[in-house]
């Protein structure tokens, strides 16, 4: 095994790239869960975003349009979950699973003609001064815009939930929908908006996979990234800053195991490929062993104004 072949600068740079899709999906899902809704369909929304983003980018030649279309498509798809759980009061776990199954089928159907194609990818930003720094420049300041956008989004969500009135209302709906309803807030409408936002974020994350990270379309390419995003929200105890840490941690594990595979580590390849999943389980156990802190009190509970 040749550990010397792993370049630490490139390693950090690729961690940022590999963490971005999970980060986008996780921060969106965190907002959804903060409003008291458990959407298990992240995987389905991500893969729909991946295929729609890819298809639009290939057809228009514009990755930016691809990202926009991906966000829109996943958000619209997530609204089907929203209508079912909020208006028709269906079980959130079952509906989320249904959303994942629908998303996987839908994406396979749309993506068939695009298999093996290449898409235009996002250009790396050329940041003056910062990008020219000796080590940090390559590491942190030579990425595409979505990496920075995802970081900005985390900051924005943090500030929104902590400092704004709307954020306070969103949290109130998640903590006690009956109280929020009694105060005159439109619980269902607020939750639908949160679900829409979560869908758009998952779509962006999926599109980042198919347009930048891989960049290609293959069936089932998210390979559990949506579920890992769900686990990260639990890991983060529903806090924006910790979502960032969680996503970069998992990005790190993914990149490291790929690097170890490439360097020919004397560990079975299968064990290395399962490591992100095994570590997810391990982290979930460690977090839950401490007792779950910060879960919104109404998470996953249906709301009907009459009861």
């Amino acid at each position: 095994m040749d550990l010397g072949s792993i370049n630490p600068i490139l390693l950090v740079a690729s961690i940022m790239v590999s963490a971005t899709p999970i980060l986008l999906a996780a921060i969106g899902e965190m907002v959804v869960e903060k409003s008291g809704v458990l959407n298990l369909g992240v995987e389905g929304m991500m893969i729909t975003g991946a295929v729609v983003g890819f298809a639009v980018a290939v057809n228009t030649g514009s990755p930016v349009l691809g990202f926009a279309a991906a966000a829109l498509a996943s958000a619209v798809l997530s609204l089907s979950f929203g209508v079912l759980t909020q208006v028709f009061l269906s079980n959130q776990v079952a509906t989320g699973l249904g959303l994942t199954l629908v998303g996987l089928g839908l994406s396979a159907l749309i993506g068939k003609p695009y298999e093996g194609m290449k898409s235009p990818t996002l250009p790396k930003l050329d940041i003056p001064l910062l990008g020219d720094l000796p080590v940090l420049g390559r590491m942190l300041f030579s990425h595409d815009i979505m990496v920075y956008l995802s970081l900005a989004l985390v900051a924005a969500v943090w500030a929104f939930l902590k400092f704004t009135r709307a954020g306070l209302i969103l949290r109130a709906v998640g903590e006690s929908h009956d109280a929020a309803h009694a105060l005159g807030y439109k619980v269902v409408r607020i939750r639908l908006m949160a679900i829409f936002f979560g869908g758009a974020c998952a779509g962006l994350g999926g599109a980042y996979l198919s347009l930048v990270r891989v960049p290609q379309w293959t069936e089932g390419m998210t390979a559990g990234a949506g579920w890992i995003a769900l686990a990260i929200v639990v890991f983060a105890s529903w806090r924006a800053g910790r979502v960032l840490i969680g996503a970069y941690l998992f990005g790190g594990v993914t990149v490291l195991q790929l690097n170890l595979q490439a360097a020919g580590a004397r560990v079975p390849v299968e064990l290395l490929s399962t490591s992100p999943y095994l570590i997810t389980i391990l982290v979930l156990v460690l977090i839950s062993a401490r007792g779950i802190h910060g879960a919104p009190a109404c998470l996953g509970r249906p709301f009907h104004a009459s009861s």
């Binding site: 298990l40 089907s80 079912l84 028709f88 009061l89 269906s90 079980n91 776990v93 079952a94 509906t95 699973l97 249904g98 959303l99 199954l101 629908v102 998303g103 996987l104 089928g105 839908l106 396979a108 159907l109 068939k112 069936e219 390979a223 559990g224 579920w227 769900l230 686990a231 639990v234 079975p268 299968e270 064990l271 490929s273 399962t274 999943y277 095994l278 997810t280 389980i281 979930l284 156990v285 839950s288 062993a289 007792g291 779950i292 009907h304 009459s306 009861s307």
Partner: protein
Amino acid sequence: MIRLEKRPQPSQLWTVLTPVLAVLLTMLVGGIMFAFLGTDPLEAIRTIFWDPLFNPQFAGFTRPQLLVKAGPLILIAIGLSIGFRAGIWNIGAEGQYIMGAICGAGAGLAFYPADSVLIFPLMILCGALGGFAWAMIPALLKVRFGTNEILVSLMLVYVAENLLASVASNLLRNPEGMGFPGSRNFKQWPAAHNAELISGTGMHWGVAFAFIAVILAYVLMSRHIQGFNIRLTGEAPRAARFAGVNPARIVILCLGISGALAGMAGLFEVTGPAGQISIDFNSGYGFTAIIVAFLGRLHPVGILLAGLLMALTYIGGELAQLMLGVPGAAIQLFQGMLLFFLLATDVFTNFRLSLGRKEPA
């Protein structure tokens, strides 16, 4: 103005009606989807739902497939439904299915080429144990640490898939297979072959076990105290605790049953229809079984019917792929839509539409 009004009791009529309505809605929307794909919708629906059973040309071949496909779906869905009733969400049945197949096949292959009637029962037992053990991971973690069983059981699916890829090309690889991945073919080893019991019907041991599971699950859920405890835990967890129901025991019971049944389903599949352990012998039955469980209203008899219907969409889907060139993914979407429409129409079970003005509170 139309409002939803909560029913004092879930409607019996709608409980039965919603799956039928969901199927009709899926046919309708699915038909529109097929029209978009450039296929005649009526012909597509007929190819999926009618031809596999009644077409004089190929029904003779496709009809036995119905049981072959329904067997594992029903077996897995029965186990899942017991957990779902208790609010325990095992969505990693696919992983337990794979592990059951690996353990059962591995136990059998250890005795190759012995010829004894005991080998196949031993394989079934090991298959069940494999699935059981794999389900015990989320169960014990949930009981001991309160870890979310949804995420753990799902993560373990990916672990199981990687393990399957590993054993198919290393540990269980056919030594006479010229280096190709995949185990020995069980169809060529009568002691371990899950053959058709009645020729031409598709009836194999897995289907027989599925029927037995339906009956046992019915007895458990409606006649046995543990079944009552399971339902009570799902519907009123607090009441269950006051009644002295041990929640940890329910978690282990539910996940254990579903894991063992999924493991058996995997073993029957690998020794029968699939024939060998290969990288992709699993065809997503563990996930489709979730749809089957809900479509069957988490009731054993309902699951039996839902399993047959879902098997029909598999066979009809393959037929439509062959005859009409409908993409395979369209069927996957079709099955997903079925679950969605079921969940949507389910609102009428618990609520009724009321017209007119809202009365003052």
